[in-house]
Symmetry: C2
Subunit: 393 residues, 2 copies
């Protein structure tokens, strides 16, 4: 097992009455108004927005709004949020939405406390020293952003979608009510599951899990239960326990509990995917699903033993030959993705090899910032080609 520091101080209040704790949890940071960051449409449609306004008003908490955060959130919009936070001397940020909203809220919370453009953090040129306290109310299971210090943002001008992580971006509190995700569409639910599984697989295949069997077991358990829950939710969207399992699985997948002790990990699939969804024409989870089998086939020769172990643990494969079991594992992923309506074909999203130079250039920059020296142009090119040929098979 590799040396590690595990320090996960996020307070998670989880369950049917989670929102009842909002006033008490916001109170310590209510010197100024709270900045309510949301995506508008879904939270307004579900009545959640109105409910929150009532809770805040009844609790005597002032708030200003920064709404209309879109999927694959944009730096420009974050800049406006930072202005709003500063102009109103906000003392805390409340994020209500999915990963895009929470990541935007993180960028605003940190951006309001720095002199430089927050984008400089994403390009590795600057870091942060403090951040406004952040409280999250996730409304979709996937990114796990409510329990980690990571955020992903798109620079609309430069057409770059990069990620940045820092301990100061950890939310103080997350209020997680699974019933808030009842209205998440089957398709979005599936994309969320793919995101959870991608996080786990990237750790599983690039971390030192051979010497960390406990962490390996946890990762397998998260994938196993996420897949089962997601399958049921395709036809039973109001299954509380399955919604709860997906939310908690999403949070734990990147909370540190799965990575503690596995050393350096490389978020290779996310690197490849961000280059796709930077163009806003594909959802993050959809992009991951379209790339995942190809990525596994490309990585297969190196990680076939781990893929075989994964397949045996998660799908009960009884094949003893590692190469065969690894191939079967990839097929099982395709079967699962098909069952939850996720295409494994880039072509089906109108993405073809013409974009390769642009994709490779995007990965090159992120790989440099993330210090993934193994992700050379050649490797990235090979991975994408596997994905494209997978698509056409």
């Amino acid at each position: 097992m590799q040396d590690f520091v595990f320090h996960q101080p996020v307070k998670v209040i989880f369950g049917r009455r989670a929102l009842a704790a909002l006033t008490a949890e916001l109170n310590p940071w209510s010197d100024g108004p709270v900045l309510l960051v949301h995506g508008c449409r879904s939270s307004k449609a579900s009545g959640l927005y109105q409910q929150l306004c009532t809770i805040l008003t009844d609790g005597g908490l002032r708030f200003v709004e920064h709404g209309s955060v879109q999927p694959n959130p944009l730096l420009n919009h974050v800049h406006r949020g930072i202005d709003t936070a500063r102009n109103n001397a906000c003392s805390a940020v409340l994020a209500v939405g999915g990963g895009s909203v929470i990541d935007s809220a993180k960028a605003i919370a940190a951006g309001a406390c720095v002199d430089h453009d927050i984008w400089k953090c994403f390009t590795g040129k600057k870091s942060i020293r403090r951040s406004l306290p952040l409280i999250c109310i996730p409304t979709i299971a996937g990114s796990g952003s409510d329990m980690n210090g990571g955020m992903v943002l798109t620079h609309d001008g430069k057409q770059r979608k990069f990620g940045f992580a820092h301990r100061l971006l950890l939310p103080r509190v997350s209020l997680v009510d699974p019933s808030l995700t009842f209205s998440v569409l089957p398709q979005q639910t599936a994309w969320g599951a793919v995101d959870i599984i991608a996080h786990c697989l990237e750790i599983y295949l690039t971390g030192a899990i051979d010497e960390a069997p406990l962490q390996r077991n946890f990762l397998e358990g998260i994938c196993r239960t996420t897949m089962a829950a997601c399958r049921r939710l395709q036809t039973e969207p109001h299954s509380y326990d399955d919604r709860a399992t997906m939310l908690w699985a999403a949070s734990l997948a990147l909370s540190g509990i799965t990575t503690a002790g596995v050393g350096r990990i490389a978020m290779e699939l996310h690197l490849l995917e961000h280059a796709l969804s930077v163009r806003q024409d594909i959802a993050h989870g959809a992009g991951l699903a379209a790339l995942l089998p190809g990525w596994l086939r490309f990585r297969g020769p190196i990680v076939h033993r781990r893929l075989a172990t994964f397949g045996r643990a998660v799908w009960g494969l009884e094949e003893n030959n590692d190469d065969k079991a690894a191939a079967m594992t990839i097929e099982e992923f395709e079967v699962f993705f098909s069952a939850i309506g996720c295409s494994c074909s880039l072509a089906s999203w109108g993405i073809n090899e013409d974009r390769l130079p642009e994709l490779i250039a995007h990965c090159r920059e992120q790989a440099r910032i993330w210090r993934l020296s193994e992700m050379t142009d050649e490797v990235v090119n090979g991975a994408y080609r596997c994905c494209f040929s997978n698509a056409s098979s």
Copy 2:
């Protein structure tokens, strides 16, 4: 899934260089001297004691000592520790040892801050409002006390061994170096594994895990990997990864990660065991092993489906009939305990049915304090009788 609050702020510094962080981590609480709580013999024999004295002295940190903590630690000795902490105006407590040392350190850290006898917490008559900051250096895997807010203490005068838990008893920092446990004897290693497994099983069999498959998977994973590591350590005590796995498994088993979402749990086996080891004639882990199969047979009719699920997940049992699979699971436990040299016979420890009235009286008090109303005299009596008859089989 049941509603829950998960808030686990313990900072765990884990690995071969963990002790190097001691000075920096103690510094914020170095107004007064630190109280060094230890068990003497093993830490002195291993050189750890000298190493710590050097680190503290070189770091300019004053310390006073409270040594000679014994297994199944005693209230009297804790009282002396509280006096030492008060007389020296200690500003922090550093626990170096196993669960007994860490639990004693918790009782001292809390006891130094209350006007009443700390024992009143164990009898449910008082609670605590603050506690001296605690830093732990565990030297044996088992109790997981380095990452939870529980402690167990024996009142030597009253012959009572009770447990108490409070958030304020959570350590601030735990420095976990697996190589410090290389010298733990095979027998003690085995008892530690039994403690970890007992914690998991009590959650598994009394919590609402049917609606919490993720938590169920985690519990199975902890047991699976703990058993594998413990088996190897019987002959390879210097296997770093296995020592690391056992320590991290022990910490996580009761860290909150396995209990979040499973609702009320009942530490029934610990209730039964504490009544045994209160007499100091049996180690805690040995007592758990001697009771566990009998307890499972007693609980069997109610929890046979869960035992079957456990056996299939952990030992790959292929029996479809739940009753049969549950019986096989109990047998697998006995095989495992035998393999690691743990007796499942109370008689082998010189404990026989003559002690039943005394055991039942002990359980009655703890059950009342822990509010385990289901643990009536009749139930407790039935459970012990199963254990005694198991012993003679």
